[in-house]
């Protein structure tokens, strides 16, 4: 497929590409930190979208792959002395392997049963890591500061990590689009609409679901490693926040599930909203309640999310808003 000729691909790609570029040109540390968080959530939400939006399987444990992959990648950096880009790949591969094992069990479940099982997986992973000594138990791991020297000091290392994250998120978007436009992606949509019918029509549902799960799990492992490397430490409560799984879900819903641009807009909007609420005088103490209210209004009145609503409202824009 020739990506150049795809109008639906470019708005999403350019949005992420240009916002990363702006940060690199301006070179402000605070801007980089904000952009890091937003990009991270874009990557996590877009990768969740492959399973949740395209395939229709709601995963409450997406953060497990962020946590376990991140833990493993961090372990490779801090204990084994691997360079961070290789360690991140290691984290991603481990996430995919875990997804294969977990998926073999839980992907046999459908609908709400699958969703419940993923809640269990999330909690089991957190509880396990809190007790697993090589990963530092409940206090977690700290990076040895000499690990930053390789990249010319801590300041440079942070910029380097940011560029890596930017590239990873761009990769997520390319992969999401390729999946969506492929025969495989059509199979996933068929599974989402009616799994039994899809199987009768010749879609190999167990295989396709597993593949979607593997792809969806790979990127959080990468992103997790970069995030914890940037933070300099990793601990179980930080790595397996159930709340964060839910926030990612909210972002996908906010922008529009199943759309390429949806999670990007959703992640951006949610982060901006949270930033505004946290700093505003009136809402500072009520930011959680306000986010909840926003979510409730979206679920009740705009179930297609922001981008989905635009598509419905302006049919001419549809080819651009994939």
């Amino acid at each position: 497929m020739n990506l150049w000729r795809q109008p639906g691909f470019w708005p999403s790609f350019l949005l992420v590409f240009l916002s990363g570029l702006v940060v690199l040109v301006l070179r402000q540390d605070t801007l980089r930190e904000t952009a890091f968080t937003v990009l991270m959530f874009i990557g996590l939400a877009s990768s969740l979208n492959i399973l949740m939006g395209y395939t229709g399987y709601v995963n409450f444990g997406h953060i497990v792959f962020f946590g376990l992959g991140g833990y493993f990648g961090f372990f490779l950096v801090s204990e084994m002395g691997w360079p961070v880009y290789l360690a991140a790949l290691g984290g991603g591969v481990l996430s995919s392997i875990l997804a294969y094992i977990i998926g073999a069990a839980v992907l046999r479940l459908r609908g709400a049963y699958f969703a419940l099982a993923t809640i269990g997986v999330n909690e089991a992973a957190r509880a396990f890591v809190s007790n697993f000594e090589p990963f530092g138990g409940s206090t977690g791991l700290y990076v040895n500061f000499s690990a930053y020297d390789r990249y010319g000091g801590a300041g440079q290392a942070l910029w380097f990590t940011f560029i890596l994250l930017w590239l990873v998120v761009l990769a997520v978007i390319v992969v999401s689009y390729l999946v969506k436009r492929s025969r495989f992606g059509l199979g996933l949509s068929a599974i989402r609409e009616d799994e039994d019918t899809a199987m009768v029509m010749g879609v190999n549902a167990p295989l396709d679901k597993t593949k979607a799960f593997l792809i969806s799990a790979f990127f959080p492992g990468l992103i997790g490693t970069l995030y914890f490397f940037k933070n300099g430490n990793v601990e179980p409560d930080d790595a397996f926040r159930f709340q964060m799984s839910l926030e990612i879900l909210v972002m996908v819903m906010l922008g529009g599930k199943g759309l390429l641009l949806g999670p990007i807009v959703g992640a951006f909007a949610y982060e901006r909203l949270r930033g505004y609420l946290l700093t505003s005088v009136i809402f500072k103490n009520l930011h959680l309640a306000t986010s909840g209210l926003v979510l409730l209004l979206i679920v009740l009145f705009v179930p297609g999310g922001g981008v989905g609503w635009l598509r419905e409202r302006f049919p001419k824009l549809r080819r651009w808003l994939e």
Binding site: V58, A105, V106, R108, L109, G111, A112, Y113, A115, L116, A117, I119, G120, V121, E123, A124, R126, A127, F128, S130, N131, S138, F242, L246, L249, V250, M253, N285, L286, H287, L288, A289, T290, S291, G292, L293, L295, L296, V299, L300, P303
Partner: protein, 284 residues
């Protein structure tokens, strides 16, 4: 064996209360096909309600439970009307997110109003000594209350018209509607009852454990585990599952570190879901 006995009995008594919370969750699932992610937050509200009745009005926590019952039932109707009625037909993702939004709103307002500093209800109901076993009065009373509530729920579901309507809607909503059952009222009632059970379980828990507005989350997860053990949608299974989980929490720490308890619980949870999604007591 003899040294394990006190912790098993203690666990079983707490298990009754877990069972009540899980019954609420399983009732809502069975009748409405909704996984209520606001269950934990409702439990926390029950804890605070009991706490304020006790500390400000000096009301006995078990008498206060009557007020908790009424308030939480109304609260359940309110949540159903505002957050669920519109999306009840549109699939489990919408209802999951709607209840999660309710959860965020309750926790958000609760954190702002009550802060997250722990509170506890300083109420003692004495204790009974049976051989090597010392039974805390509050836990005995809580278990007793749980049994009474379960009995009342059973009588309500099997011997009253609204109860039968709930079971009919749970069996087959379309058929129930054809028989003239106003399913929207029945769903509201089921959600109200489920919310009530959560709040009462929260209230009972608050008499023996300190709590914050965030405490509900742990119990909500336990409720999920219990529901799956007992079979989703099966209230009796929920009680049995609660007892099982309570006993497990009593036994596990006697031979491995207490921090491994959640690992055991959630691995069991996923295993049961995968191997036998109808629950340990479920049919087939």
């Amino acid at each position: 064996m003899i040294h394990v006995l006190p912790s098993i009995i203690d666990g079983l008594l707490i298990g009754f209360v877990y069972g009540v919370a899980a019954m609420g969750l399983t009732l809502i699932w069975g009748v409405m096909r909704v996984i209520n992610l606001g269950h934990g937050a409702t439990m926390a509200l029950g804890m605070f309600c009991t706490y304020f009745l006790f500390s400000d009005l000096a009301l006995n926590p078990y008498l206060g439970m009557v007020a908790v019952v009424v308030l939480s039932l109304l609260f359940g109707f309110l949540i159903y009307g505002v957050a669920l009625q519109r999306v009840i037909q549109s699939g489990y993702l919408s209802t999951l997110l709607a209840t999660f939004a309710v959860n965020m709103i309750i926790i958000g307002i609760g954190t702002a109003v009550f802060t997250t500093s722990p509170r506890n209800i300083d109420f003692s109901a004495g204790s009974i000594t049976l051989g090597p076993v010392i039974l805390q009065g509050t836990r005995l009373l809580a278990a007793l209350a749980a049994v009474v509530i379960t009995g009342a729920l059973y009588l309500f579901l099997y011997f009253t018209r609204p109860g039968k309507a709930i079971r009919a809607v749970s069996d087959n909503r379309a058929a129930a509607e054809l028989m003239g059952i106003p399913s929207s009222h029945v769903l509201a009632l089921a959600f109200g009852l489920g919310t009530m059970l959560a709040a009462v379980a929260g209230g009972l828990t608050s008499t023996f454990f300190p709590f914050t507005i965030l405490s509900g989350a742990t119990y909500q997860l336990k409720s999920f585990v219990i529901c799956v053990l007992g079979g989703l949608g099966n209230p009796l299974g929920a009680l049995v599952g609660g007892l099982f989980l309570g006993a497990l929490e009593g036994i596990v720490p006697t031979f491995m570190p207490v921090s491994w308890v959640p690992v055991v619980e959630f691995v069991l949870f996923v295993l049961v879901l995968v191997v036998k999604p109808t629950g340990l007591l479920g049919a087939k």
